[in-house]
Symmetry: C2
Subunit: 370 residues, 2 copies
């Protein structure tokens, strides 16, 4: 049926051990022999069986990248950057070892749809495949399955898989994996967090300095860490200026998509027709907010200022161009990729914070009457 190592060996007139060595190039083989083997491989169109190899060698060249939503550019950018880095030949201890040209590994991105169960399922599947590494991106859901996920991650890491959290808070420092076991067995779970709190705070401060006093907030899904952090940043800014009470009730929750922004904006407007600015959960949501505003005959930023978050590529094309916080998504993804490949390490404690940068464009302006 399918050709195996033995077939190649037979055709080349050598033992299968030799063929294996030629293919893996980690043992001296005479040029003469090598050539014959390679020709046999060609002739037979031989393709190694990755499973057999992984089983025998106890290594794998799969790296999982879990994202909340592939269709969302936020994750798309992150994933694509990480992916490129993972596929790239390793400079570290991986010279030519893996099947991929140059020692790179196969990055597989898994779409969880933001559901913890799906996350768990993929994590299990990846564990099954004995993946070389896993990158978990996007905010975590706070609640029920959190522990199950943390647990699974810890076990993955303990079993030798490199785990990187990107754009998600670090794992609670567990009580050190059931004592007894191997103290050297696993590697740490590395974290690359985004400074959501800081970014959100900058945004709101910017609005306040422009003169806004009644600022609405369209937040993300209630139970997600990212939502909470951005909200905290927002509130910190309000508190700093003694505005906490005034804007206290002006928060509406929704998903990270356009229609949620649309709906939430109308809700906010109904609740408080006098607001002069809206802080959106992210750029996509901001688009929805702007659309809703426009439908009500309100102009941005003349009547209401709007801010986004992330600075996705389309933000600059929106009308008006969005004031937002730029997250170095591409760079963060690449870094996560390097971390998971063991080609770079996090400074200390395995946790790094990625800062955002306030980008002021046309969607914010001073309120009409102060």
């Amino acid at each position: 049926m399918t050709t195996t190592l033995a077939d190649v060996a037979a055709r080349a007139g050598v033992s299968s051990a030799t063929v294996s060595r030629v293919l893996n190039g980690n043992y001296p083989v005479a040029d003469h022999t090598r050539e014959r083997v390679l020709r046999a491989v060609e002739d037979l169109e031989y393709v190694v069986n990755g499973n057999a190899r992984a089983l025998a060698a106890a290594t794998s060249d799969l790296v999982g990248v879990l994202v909340n939503d592939v269709a969302d550019p936020f994750f798309g950018i992150l994933a694509s950057a990480a992916q490129a880095e993972i596929a790239r030949g390793g400079d570290a201890d991986e010279q030519g070892r893996a099947g991929a040209p140059g020692g790179g590994k196969l990055a597989v991105v898994c779409n969880t749809g933001g559901s913890p169960e799906a996350e768990l399922t993929y994590l299990t599947l990846l564990h099954r495949q004995r993946a070389a590494g896993v990158i978990l991106t996007g905010s975590a859901v706070e609640g029920s399955d959190t522990d199950a996920i943390a647990d699974r991650l810890a076990r993955l890491a303990a079993s030798g898989t490199r785990v990187v959290l990107c754009g998600r808070p670090p794992l609670p420092a567990g009580p050190f994996e059931e004592g007894a076991g191997e103290p050297e067995g696993g590697n740490p779970v590395m974290t690359l967090g985004f400074d959501n709190r800081g970014g959100a705070e900058q945004l709101t401060r910017h609005l306040i300095r422009l003169g806004h006093r009644r600022i609405g907030c369209v937040a993300g899904p209630v139970d997600r860490t990212t939502t909470r952090h951005r909200l905290e940043g927002h509130r910190n800014a309000l508190a700093a200026y003694g505005l906490a009470r005034e804007c206290g009730g002006l928060t509406a929750y929704g998903y990270y998509d356009r229609s949620s922004g649309h709906r939430a904006a109308r809700e906010l407007l109904d609740r408080c027709p006098g607001l002069t600015a809206i802080v959106a959960a992210n750029d996509t949501v901001a688009l929805g907010v702007i659309a809703a505003l426009r439908e009500r005959g309100l102009q941005v930023p003349r009547d209401v200022s709007v801010t986004g978050f992330d600075d996705l590529p389309f933000s600059v094309d929106a009308t008006p161009a969005l004031t937002t916080v730029r997250l170095p998504l591409h760079e963060a993804g690449a870094r996560a990729g390097r971390l998971v490949m063991g080609r770079e390490t996090t400074p200390g404690g395995g946790v790094a914070l990625v800062e955002g940068e306030l980008v002021i464009r046309e969607s914010t302006a001073p309120p009409r009457e102060s």
Copy 2:
């Protein structure tokens, strides 16, 4: 080190065969025994070794989804729909068989960056892993590696992997896999093509009917099938109205991104300041075109009409909202997913064409002076 089937068997006081059967649920096991085994699995936190399983059973639960660019919503939507369908429990011949809950398989999306070499690399990797299926999305590059890819695909299919082409032209009907072999060995390569030609033709006809006579065209990368097809549709429309000559030179090529659209539009404008409409390669490109137009002080659609293609989510938010051709991306992705899972079949010949639908919005209008 890691716990194996044998460990579980020992703890449950049964043979490893029994444990395997409990886990796979395809052989009668007494409830009593099953329970004991499951408890042992729990206690030991046992995770099957996917590689060993795949090796022994000669099956895999990996399905590859190759896309040109994860960061592009076009592919994101396709991939996410396919993914959902693949993860879903199979209704067909896959009840509970695979490791994933409900018989779903692990969809791994691979980012090729549109490079044929990367495509080949991933295909090889997937072949190595003996993937259960592969979905190839996006336009193919016409040239050098085409044959190599077609070849690899044919071999993949012949070796039992289900192959689906989505949004890409069917494979040339090869001279039937080297005769001799198994006539029943592999399954056919299924194709789900988009009607790029038809869509593009509708768009251009729409413009012509509005009264446009000098229509520019910003096409995609020269060597891609999608580019060629859309261009052909465009030209067919022009020819139908005897406009082929007039607009003959008004084509500029570029990538499928915003900045290419921007650059190409300026180029076109320089070449022919009198044009009244521009057909863009897709929605993203259209955004760039509009930005360029605006910079030149031209209004859309008053001075110049612009059309996109695909109808990505943001198209309705653009100002002006884009006239475009809607491709049922989500549905197509889902269908591709079903095809690759063997849960659905293509009508006849293994090739299905997905039609686009003209969506008229605000970016097109009659030219100012006719």
